[in-house]
C-alpha cells in the first residue's frame, strides 16, 4: 500500500538538547541563557516555515532486492543486505520539510544572521529525522492493525549513502516510490531537493534481525557510528 501523509510542524520540533547535540554539544552541558534564546528562536523559525510531509509504500522482498541492487555499486557485505531478506515488511519512504524552510535558512545566511541560520539548519536536520520517526510509527501502527506485525516488531530505517548502500541507490528508490508527489526531487548527483529531506527503507521485524556490529569495511570511515544508538533504542523502547 502507498500512503502520502501531511505531518504537523508541531510534531517534528526537536528538543533543545537534540538541537544542541546536533551541533556537537555533549548532553547535559549548560549553555546559558543566550544559547537557549538562540535555540528558541530557531525552533520558532522551524515551526513557522517547516511543512513536513511523507510518502511510504510497501514493497516485497524481491522488489526491494532489485531496488537495493540499484546500479550494482553497493559495498559488500553490508548490514542491510543481510537484514532485508529476514524482514517481516519492507516499506520505502521519503519525507521532506518543504522548500520554504530551506529558502529561509539560505536567506538567513545571506543576510548575515549566521548564528540563527546555523542553529536553524541544525534544528531542521533533527526535524527531518523526527519526520522519519513519525513515518516509522505510522508504518508500525498500520502493520499491527493489518496483522503483518506484532508486539515484538521493531522498525529501523536505512538510507542510500549510508551503511554500504551507495547513494546512487536513490535512483531506483525514487523510481519505485515517486516522492516527487511530496515535492522531493533528485539531482544528477543523487542529492535530494529540498535539502532537508530523507529517504530510504523502513525494515520491520523482530529485534534480533536488526542487530549487527559495526565492523564492516566502510564502518571505519563512518563519522558517527549512529547505528549503535539506533540499535540500542530498539531494545529499550516499548512497542
Amino acid at each position: 500500500m502507498r500512503r502520502v501523509v501531511g505531518i504537523l510542524p508541531a510534531s517534528i520540533v526537536p528538543s533543545e538538547e537534540a538541537v544542541l547535540g546536533a551541533m556537537g554539544v555533549p548532553p547535559g552541558s549548560e549553555q546559558g541563557e543566550r544559547v537557549d534564546g538562540l535555540v528558541a528562536d530557531a525552533l520558532d523559525e522551524l515551526r513557522r516555515a517547516a511543512c513536513p510531509r511523507g510518502v511510504v509504500t510497501n514493497v516485497t522482498t524481491d522488489e526491494f532486492a532489485r531496488i537495493y541492487e540499484g546500479e550494482s555499486d553497493n559495498d559488500t557485505p553490508s548490514p542491510l543486505a543481510e537484514i532485508f531478506p529476514r524482514a517481516e515488511e519492507l516499506v520505502l519512504f521519503a519525507a521532506t520539510l518543504g522548500a520554504p524552510l530551506s529558502e529561509r535558512i539560505a536567506a538567513l545566511f545571506a543576510d548575515g544572521s549566521l548564528a540563527l541560520a546555523t542553529m536553524l539548519d541544525a534544528a531542521a536536520s533533527e526535524a527531518a529525522e523526527l519526520a522519519g520517526v513519525h513515518l516509522d510509527g505510522l508504518v508500525l501502527e498500520g502493520a499491527r492493525l493489518g496483522g503483518q506485525a506484532n508486539q515484538f516488531t521493531r522498525a529501523l530505517r536505512y538510507s542510500p549513502g549510508y551503511c554500504g548502500w551507495n547513494l546512487t541507490g536513490q535512483r531506483a528508490l525514487f523510481a519505485a516510490l515517486g516522492p516527487e508527489e511530496i515535492g522531493v526531487h533528485l539531482t544528477d548527483n543523487c542529492l535530494m531537493e529540498p535539502l532537508k529531506s530523507i529517504s530510504g527503507v523502513i525494515v520491520l521485524g523482530p529485534r534480533e534481525i536488526h542487530e549487527f556490529t559495526d565492523d564492516y569495511s566502510f564502518c571505519s570511515a563512518c563519522p558517527t557510528h549512529d547505528c549503535r544508538r539506533r540499535i540500542k533504542e530498539l531494545t529499550q523502547t516499548r512497542p
Binding site: S29, Q31, V39, T118
Partner: protein, 210 residues
C-alpha cells in the same frame, strides 16, 4: 587599554549589544580602529577559537561570539583602512560543483572571518573556473573547498589541476575538507592543506598563509 580587554571579554560571552556599545566608546576615546579590532575583537575571538579547539566551549557559543564580533566590526568598518579588515589574508571558499551542502563551508567562513581573514564565499555548487577566476581576480591567498558527497570529491581535484594549468598554484594555495575527505585523499589529490573541521580549517589557513 582596559576597555579593549573588556571588549574581548564581552565578545567571548557573546554579548553583542554590549560589544557594539563598548566598541563605540573606544572609538569615542579616540583609540585607533585597527587597534580596537586587533586587541579587542580579534583578541577575544582568538580566545574563543582556542577554547573551541580545546572542547572547552562548543559551536553555539562560537556562533554567539561571531555575532558579537560582527556587531563590533560594523562600528569600526567606516574607520578602517581598506586592507585592515583582511590584513591576515584572503580566502575564497565554496562547496564544489554538484554538491548542495553548505553548512560546513558556512562554519569555516564564520571561523575564518572571526580569525581576521577576508572571506569570499562563492556559495554551493561552485565550478572549478569560478573558484580559480575569483581567486585570481581578488588576489586570494587560499582556495578552501568543501564536499559532503564522495561523488563530488573529484571536483576538488579539478580545481587544483586548473590552478596548475594556469600557473597559479604557487600564489594560491588550496585547502580541502568535508565529511568524506580524509587526510590521505587530500594529499593524494595534491591539496596544500586539509581542514578536518571548522576550527582546524583556521589553523590550516594560518599555516598556508604564514
Amino acid at each position: 587599554m582596559e576597555i579593549l580587554g573588556q571588549i574581548a571579554a564581552l565578545l567571548e560571552r557573546g554579548e553583542d549589544q554590549e560589544v557594539r556599545s563598548l566598541t563605540q566608546s573606544a572609538m569615542d576615546q579616540s583609540l585607533p580602529a585597527l587597534k580596537i579590532l586587533e586587541e579587542g575583537l580579534l583578541a577575544g575571538m582568538q580566545v574563543v577559537g582556542d577554547r573551541f579547539r580545546a572542547h572547552d566551549i562548543f559551536l553555539p557559543e562560537v556562533l554567539l561570539a561571531a555575532r558579537a564580533m560582527s556587531a563590533g566590526v560594523e562600528v569600526l568598518k567606516p574607520h578602517l583602512g581598506k586592507t585592515d579588515l583582511h590584513s591576515r589574508g584572503k580566502v575564497v571558499i565554496g562547496t564544489v560543483q554538484g554538491d548542495l551542502h553548505d553548512i560546513g563551508k558556512n562554519l569555516v567562513g564564520i571561523m575564518l572571518s572571526g580569525a581576521g581573514f577576508e572571506v569570499i564565499d562563492l556559495g554551493k555548487n561552485v565550478s572549478a573556473e569560478e573558484f580559480v577566476d575569483t581567486a585570481r581576480e581578488s588576489g586570494a591567498d587560499v582556495i578552501g573547498m568543501s564536499a559532503l558527497l564522495t561523488t563530488t570529491m573529484p571536483a576538488m581535484k579539478q580545481v587544483i589541476s586548473l590552478l596548475r594549468e594556469r600557473g597559479l598554484d604557487s600564489s594560491v594555495r588550496t585547502m580541502v575538507g568535508g565529511a568524506p575527505v580524509t587526510r590521505e585523499y587530500a594529499s593524494e589529490m595534491g591539496a596544500d592543506g586539509y581542514g578536518f573541521d571548522a576550527a582546524n580549517a583556521v589553523e590550516c589557513v594560518r599555516e598556508l598563509v604564514g
